[in-house]
Symmetry: C2
């Protein structure tokens, strides 16, 4: 249990630090974008490292859907000890991954008041997914949205090249 907490607390600290540092440097709107992209970038590199470890004994994937299923199950379990609760796709490169109890949001009380803070706690995780997919050969755009805490939806749009 405390294992997870070590990561979760460090994540909290990191978010807080990056926001504080940016706030002292620039004005509000600019700051928000920069902090989110710093966190997303960190997630991207961590995602790349993690997926390399997890897939080292895995044989190839059949198709994009097969990769997404792997992300929802093995990758998610290795990070957050649970799998994605629901995966939907339009079969045209868009996937929606729903986690009904997302680890990095469980500390928030369920109400409207923290809703606008949610994006900063999701940027790192969006990066994790994008980094993992990138190493598996898929360019993507990953965004996240929260309607009710601590549930969360990640939208992945595969970029066809």
């Amino acid at each position: 249990m405390a294992d997870d907490a070590l990561f979760e607390f460090l994540h909290m600290e990191m978010v807080a630090h990056i926001y504080k540092e940016q706030a002292s440097q620039a004005e509000m709107e600019q700051e928000r974008t920069t902090s989110i992209s710093i966190l997303e970038g960190m997630g991207f590199r961590v995602g790349q490292g993690l997926i390399e470890r997890i897939t080292k004994d895995t044989s190839g994937f059949k198709d994009d859907l097969d990769i997404m299923k792997f992300i929802c199950k093995d990758f998610w379990i290795s990070m957050f000890r649970k799998q994605i609760d629901n995966l939907r796709t339009n079969h045209q490169g868009t996937y929606v991954l729903q986690d009904n109890k997302f680890a990095l949001l469980t500390q928030f009380s369920n109400g409207k008041q923290y809703m606008e803070d949610a994006p900063k706690y999701l940027a790192f995780s969006c990066g994790l997914v994008r980094g993992a997919l990138c190493n598996l050969g898929l360019d993507s755009v990953v965004t996240a949205e929260v309607s009710t805490m601590p549930s969360c939806k990640f939208q992945v749009v595969i970029q066809k090249t």
Copy 2:
């Protein structure tokens, strides 16, 4: 396994980010001190959070040595999945905790060339210990040194008030 990696990679990213950010702001020597104290401060707060969770079902401690043993065993296992290999004390408030295979140093090759980088990967952990001890009622100064990677010694000096 990947669980640990999630924390370890995030830790790497954080160290890298904080050093980069400081480098763009100030000159070298100044920078080094600031980065280390930022990382130590993050560790301090994470340590406080973790110890609170781990000790919630623990009854009181007999004395300082009893607390240090708890740090070496339960606290260390919960963070790094192994206990401290050796604990020594002068019975006057100084403790030396030796970890023969410290998790955050295992990625370094064993040689002289990375030795000077070691402090920046130990600052967060020094903070972890100081934060934990602080919540258990002990003010301390915690420093770390490496003689051979990935082995590491933490020196804890309890501050009598």
